[in-house]
Symmetry: D3
Subunit: 216 residues, 6 copies
């Protein structure tokens, strides 16, 4: 029996629960077990560069403990992605990387829905680091605190408004949700905007499942 | 029960059989059925631009017939990828696209092992079309006719030699096999070169399975 | 006596006639003959990816029949450009390629006036395939059916409006008409917008004439 | 009667004569007159940045005098290209720009045969300025003084050797001669290397002829 | 005692005085002397490509006369940058190059405040020549004649308005003043926009001082 | 009196001493004080991704303690660069960023001399993150452990050999030393290779001095 560990780098259990729900469609009788875990030492949400860099030591500890066959890093900054690959030698899938790569198969120009304005420069650096600038339309913040995401109506309205800007001003034809806890919003947003929307946790779990199955 | 149809655009049954073997690790009791099919109207191998463009009508017919939930296009030129997406409205995964995207998660600079020199310009256009030039190290031919791939010893020797050039001259740190029928070579080549090697059919089937599971 | 065959990939004779008129300034006493031909098997306009891919077999047949010294492909998707080069070994000029390259000599950032929104992703892939992203400002649709182009007033108004968006929102300083049948609109549009506008059929015929003259 | 003025920015008459010979195939009974002129105030060859910048005032004077309908700038550094466009408001074609754009229609990755090593950084800046890095394979010097080009055997040997390096080490599949006076070498070099070779003066005159014909 | 010569390529003494004031913070007891000089042969402002190219001979003469250890070129077109490096073999710092490189350390996407619309294409070519397209947000003109810069209130209003467009429409998160004489505006503009603003003369003098200190 | 703190992220005092020597030319009577400090909690050298990520918490502590006006991060991975900028709100200069930007003013294509092969992927990600791929020639390891750098003869020989590869195989025309402790090697290497070589600690200190002087 193989196992995939999905780590929520922040300490908010509600986010871990949302991640766990997002994993449901990937659970099969003879497929890998998928387990979501909370970084209890983390901040309630990853907002600043300090938050992102600050959880790296926690994630390295969690990865060292667990005997999982693959790891999913469920924060859109992919904190510690490369060090975890180096540390574990196992497949480590970051949700930003997975979300962006999946978006490339669904549209030509990718827009990212960031939670906060202060995350945008971090995302811009990451898109460039991945070498995906030629497919990138823009990154716009919905300007919601991570904890505010518990209000689904307010969240949906802001996602829709920001998605329209990415589509109409920046020329995006596919969007990526730039946060781990919004899987429940994906379908409605996609339908309202008339364009594919990628939920990055599902994108990442799918890649981790595929990776564990193929065995390399 | 969902189904993934893996189409071999050429008419060589041995290639279809190799594709079918490559699909084995992805078959689960409650997962999608995975079926490989041969394009009997196709040429024995896709070598020229004429071969690639020539099979597009066949592939459109095969896609129209089948009631599959997702399609895998098992030729490294991804012939007809975008028209099949338009025609079917379903997930269509090309092995070149899937192989290259998977490689991005395993290394920094991707090298492609083409079968024939005449395929290289086609691959170069495709890598640029995907917008992945910033992660691309090079594309070198092993210079084997597609039918010659039946000689595994000769194939392995040429793959190894060409892979060394991609690594040492072009600076690749991850390779993609630029052909559908070489899954059996992957592990040995990876070990001999000391770097990850992507088998694109497995990369593509994994993506199709994940796509069918997540349902968007 | 040398001959240049200008193929209209769609079946609309009015478009072929407009192409023929656009060829007039290139006809010289001792220069190459320039002949426009209609793809009678084609759809009335190339709108979808299916239309573009669907005419490739027709174009290969037309090229095989004709004994022309050079071929111009008069559809802004350049369908079959590379296979026709492979098939014929002669100069084949696509109007999209020629239009974009000509625009590079007239401005810094190129905007494309597409006919339909559904052509935009196809154009985006093509601009990337050509490796011209660094000079590309945007691609916006005038949202007219190809057959609607027979109404010149409506066409002009939409071209002007869309051209203004490309100039003022996307920062284009040179435009390319993204369709074969609009040569009559070029001059007025250029004057109204105060910027160069490239008519791609003339750009392509000019390149074909130059190619036939120089003999390589 | 229209006229195209082809300016040789250096003072070497033999180069002007070679340019004049290169223009021969473009002379038609009812086509534009094509006249080659020497910059008598220029250095014998454009080798340094100082040479390139130094001839700009001369070229502006020559352009101001002549009543030509279009100008070809026959030095591979395209000195003064943009100021001449601004000054004259007429089509001005630089042989580097024209040579590189023409190469894009003949291959995927362009190699440039520079005369001297000290020209290479200048060429690199120009290729970047044109935004063509995605199609650029490399720029290698044949290391011949401009005046040495009078020895055709030595020139041919060095062109062939350098062309092989561009093809085999840098992955070029089309070459551009990085100098105005080598039209006589083009065909043999292309045949010996088995790949297209662009002679930039002919590429530029062809573009100027096409531009004058279409009238915009 | 080492000396840095800061050349104002235009003939407007008020600009030279503003440059001299901008140099003040870099003057240290045992540091290099910094001297500002006016190109008395230049036009009152560098506006056209003709202005930029026209001052290159003057600048070469000024550089040849002076015995300075490093040169700063105080015009945002960096006219003659590479020929001055070739001529002198000493550090030559252009304010556009220095301003753009400094901006890369202060934000992710750089916006340039041009004085005039006609300078924008020149700037676009330069940003591409530097290979910085991946970090470039846009270049917008404040549409003021260089001599109008003497009205600080009008200047400030237009800078603020244009800066807002660069920030809100183009996604810039750092700005560069695209002119030599606006050092006095920097701090207020930065504060009003809430983002870093680079004054390119100070950026360049700082680089020249550092270069002279380190001695290579 | 202003102060610049130059932090050596590794615990090797000899490296800190070399950094201190490299700072000497920047010390002026009325200029900023420049102080080098060792991260006593760090590993003897930053070799792995784990080393780079592992020192970030130490560096944040050192920055929080010190009252310096600007910080130089003297490790070629620039560990924690963005979080230190966020934490302190002061100028923070990373030696990789400063070294690469300085190289852009000295040549067209930058080669990096890495210490170890395992650092190369990290450097490649960083060059892409900076958006400098268009100016990047390659990154090759000298394959010396950081502590081996104490043998200057062995170090010089390997630097020279690797620099030749970067120049002759990768087309670099300017090099950057990819490590903090090799200032003493710079001049000789530059002379032996006939091309500029950037010592990144001096490049960074120069930028920090300039930044403190200009006050923004």
């Amino acid at each position: 029996m193989t196992e995939i560990l999905v780590v929520n780098p922040n300490s908010t259990e509600a986010v871990t629960e949302a991640i766990d729900r997002a994993a449901a469609p990937f659970r099969m009788a003879d497929g890998p077990e998928i387990r979501a875990a909370t970084n209890r030492s983390g901040p309630p949400g990853i907002q600043s560069q300090g938050d992102a860099d600050g959880v790296v030591p926690h994630l390295r500890e969690m990865a060292a403990e667990g005997g999982a066959d693959a790891l999913v890093l469920a924060c859109f900054s992919d904190p510690g992605l490369h060090v975890l690959r180096e540390d574990t030698g196992k497949p480590v899938v970051g949700i930003a990387e997975a979300g962006l790569l999946t978006a490339l198969t669904l549209g030509e120009r990718v827009g990212v829905l960031a939670i906060l304005a202060r995350s945008v420069p971090r995302h811009l650096r990451y898109v460039r680091q991945m070498g995906l600038g030629a497919r990138f339309a823009g990154d716009r913040p919905v300007d919601l605190e991570v904890v505010e995401l518990s209000d689904p109506v307010r969240t949906r309205a802001r996602l829709l408004e920001t998605g329209r800007d990415l589509r109409d001003r920046d020329g995006a034809d596919v969007l990526v949700l730039g946060c781990a806890g919004m899987a429940d919003q994906r379908a409605a947003l996609s339908q309202a905007l008339g364009m594919p929307v990628v939920e990055p946790v599902q994108a990442a779990i799918g890649m981790a499942v595929a990776s564990v199955m193929r065995g390399w």
